[in-house]
Amino acid sequence: MHLEKVIFGFFILLALTVNFGFFLGEIDNPDHHNVYELYAALVISLIATVMKFGERTQIGALLLAASLVADLQLIAAAVVWAVAVHVTGSGLTPMVMASIVSLSGGALLANLVSTVLLTVESARLQR
């Protein structure tokens, strides 16, 4: 067992699961989507990105790209949230909530790709 690999895989999986937790629920209902979950998803996604830095393999580059996409989507979701609540003052209307959740849905997809790539790579190494 390789501790570095465990931590690496842990963060990539955690980014996926936390993101999924936030995404779950009715798309336009603010009660179903906790702000702390979005926060956790964003922080973990950032950490996962940094862990992928400096990988020279082809698959490492793809993993990094997927992570950057997830970060971008989650940051966009957080910015939409902050603007809706604090800048325009419109609050979490169903429309705003739907766009936040769908952005995080995009991030979810990117995280899914990351996980699949990681699985593929480790499966290939085992053989």
Partner: protein
């Protein structure tokens, strides 16, 4: 750039992880800790406010307690987050700075930048290995002619000297050892734009290795090599190095040419000199006894050349036994009057100072002149930087190995037919040389003449190629006429004509040109430019060839047609 970015990312991994963790803990803490708003109601920060507070605290800006005054619990957490975030920032910034100052990192950055610039060189360039005196003369000569070079040298001080030099073109200077084949490939050895490889380091082994690498990895690339010893020369020739230049042999050869056939030497010096300087009248070295101080490589080469020419020599050397000097050698340096007198300076006509130390050489010629003011003095200049001293000491001939190398390399690259011409001319009898000197002097007009090669081909001389295609006979004499006034000859002289690997010395004006001919000319720069007209422009060629001025362009052609039609009609009328 490929190797630099992953390097930065890998080094920044730990600091960034620390920074993200510190920020996330601090932000989370602020959103959880209860506070009180201005109306006294319980209030908790949103993520937006928390991130705002942490951002200005972490970067040590500190706007104070925003949006409401903090509760004591919040102040406690503020203290924790200040230490957390500020320390992680310092760590991250410190890592970046140490990375930027890291020598290995800077070397990687510089190297990747240079490789990039070599890889993207999209025009012909020459690869120079070794940036000593010869290398720097070559770089100047090439860049002044607007030609690209790439330089390799393993010594940092030389590469630094090159990078601060003011040159008309950017010269990629790679701090790499040319003996390593991989480095040569990085410098563009296999690039299709690489025109030639010049190995001019002062180490024969290194030059040999470079030539060998090049012949194995890119066999068609012309290689010009410097060699100091005959063994290295033979070795380089054995695997097909295109040109090998031994500066000592070249000089010895030229010296004996100057003694025995001064006119031939003059032709040689004029045609291989730097154009547009005043035409030098070289002093003629005398016959009679020569004293050679220092039996090194140059001394040995000159000794052999003089002996073959039947000239007596006396050698002065510090260690005659170990250096294998011929019998009769005087032991000593030559810097003292005693040694020189012992060598018989009173009866000698000329002296060559060729020790490896410039101070010794200068001292020798000063002493020799003191003893015998009219003696002919030749001195070897080891370092280009000492040139002013040699000029002030007024030696009759100054031997500069780096200059000999540079001019030989340039004439090989610029005018490949020149060496062919010189070889042919040398076989001619002496009166031919005298005649040739007068003819060159006539076209040169007091300046060192330019020499250039023309080639009768579709690309280089489209007008002539077209005329030949139409079955016209074009004699050589036609193209040396002035396209402005065909009765005047251009001030140039056709030196040699090369056709199907046969060379004709001083071709006749009646010689008909054929496709594929190469002709070497010497003459003024003006003649060179005017001649281009004859080669490129069909109208100019027609004029110098036949004397007929034919109008060109749509309007003039139409007018000419009408004029001709009218004339034809008039003639028909006259006939009937």
């Amino acid at each position: 750039m490929t190797s630099v970015i992953p390097l930065i990312l890998r080094r920044m991994r730990a600091p960034l992880l620390v920074l993200i963790s510190a920020y996330s803990v601090a932000v989370l803490g602020f959103t959880l800790i209860p506070g009180v708003d201005d109306a006294g109601n319980p209030w908790r920060m949103s993520f937006f406010h928390a991130f705002y507070v942490v951002s200005y605290t972490g970067s040590t800006i500190g706007f104070g307690e925003v949006p409401y005054a903090f509760s004591n619990a919040q102040r406690l957490w503020t203290m924790v987050s200040i230490y957390l975030t500020v320390v992680s920032w310092l760590y991250a910034v410190g890592t970046i700075i140490s990375l930027v100052r890291d020598r290995a990192f800077r070397a990687a950055l510089e190297e990747s930048r240079l490789r990039h610039s070599v890889k993207h060189l999209q025009e012909p360039f020459n690869l120079i290995c070794g940036y000593g005196d010869t290398g720097s003369l070559l770089v100047r000569a090439f860049t002044e002619r607007n030609r690209r070079v790439v330089v390799l040298d393993p010594r940092p001080d030389r590469i630094d000297a090159l990078s601060i030099r003011e040159l008309p073109l950017h010269v990629p200077a790679l701090l790499l050892d040319a003996r390593n084949p991989e480095n040569l490939v990085h410098a563009g050895l296999q690039s299709r734009w690489c025109m030639s490889l010049l190995a001019v380091t002062d180490d024969d082994r290194a030059n040999l290795k470079v030539a060998l690498t090049s012949k194995l990895l890119n066999p068609t690339l012309p290689v010009i090599c410097r060699a100091e010893t005959s063994e290295a020369e033979a070795n380089m020739a054995s695997f097909g190095t295109d040109h090998i230049i031994n500066p000592n042999h070249r000089f010895a050869d030229r010296l004996s040419m100057a003694i025995h056939t001064p006119d031939m030497h003059r032709i040689h010096a004029w045609l291989s000199g730097v154009p547009n300087l005043d035409l030098p009248e070289h002093p003629q070295p005398p016959l009679g006894t020569w004293i050679i101080c220092g039996y090194g490589r140059l001394g040995r080469a000159v000794h052999r050349a003089l002996r073959e020419g039947g000239i007596d020599t006396v050698i002065i050397d510090e260690e005659p036994d170990t250096n294998g000097c011929p019998p009769g050698t005087v032991k000593g340096k030559g810097t003292e009057a005693k040694t020189l007198e012992q060598a018989g300076i009173a009866g000698a006509t000329a002296l060559l100072a060729c020790t490896v130390d410039d101070a010794d050489n200068l001292s020798i010629i000063m002493t020799a002149r003191d003893i015998k003011p009219d003696i002919f003095l030749v001195a070897r200049e080891n370092r280009l930087a000492n040139k002013p001293l040699y000029q002030a000491a007024a030696a009759d001939i100054i031997v500069e190995p780096s200059y000999i190398l540079t001019s030989s390399i340039l004439s090989i690259l610029n005018t490949p037919l020149l060496s062919e011409f010189l070889k042919l001319a040398r076989r001619e009898p002496v009166q031919c040389h005298t005649e040739l000197v007068e003819r060159i002097r006539a076209v040169a007009d007091g300046k060192v003449p330019e020499s250039w090669t023309i080639r009768i081909s579709q690309n280089r001389a489209p007008a002539i190629a077209k005329a030949l295609e139409l079955g016209e006979r074009i004699p050589l004499g036609s193209i040396v006429r002035d396209p402005g006034n065909r009765d005047q000859q251009l001030s140039c002289l056709p030196l040699v004509l090369s056709r199907n690997s046969d060379c004709t010395l001083l071709p006749d004006a009646e010689t008909d040109l054929e496709s594929g001919d190469r002709i070497l000319f010497c003459g003024s720069a003006r003649a060179f430019h005017r001649m281009q007209n004859n080669l490129q422009n069909l109208n100019a060629l027609r004029y110098v060839h036949t004397g007929e001025v034919r109008p060109d362009g749509l309007l003039w052609r139409a007018l000419a047609r009408r004029k001709k039609a009218r004339r034809d009609a008039a003639m028909e009328q006259a006939d009937s």
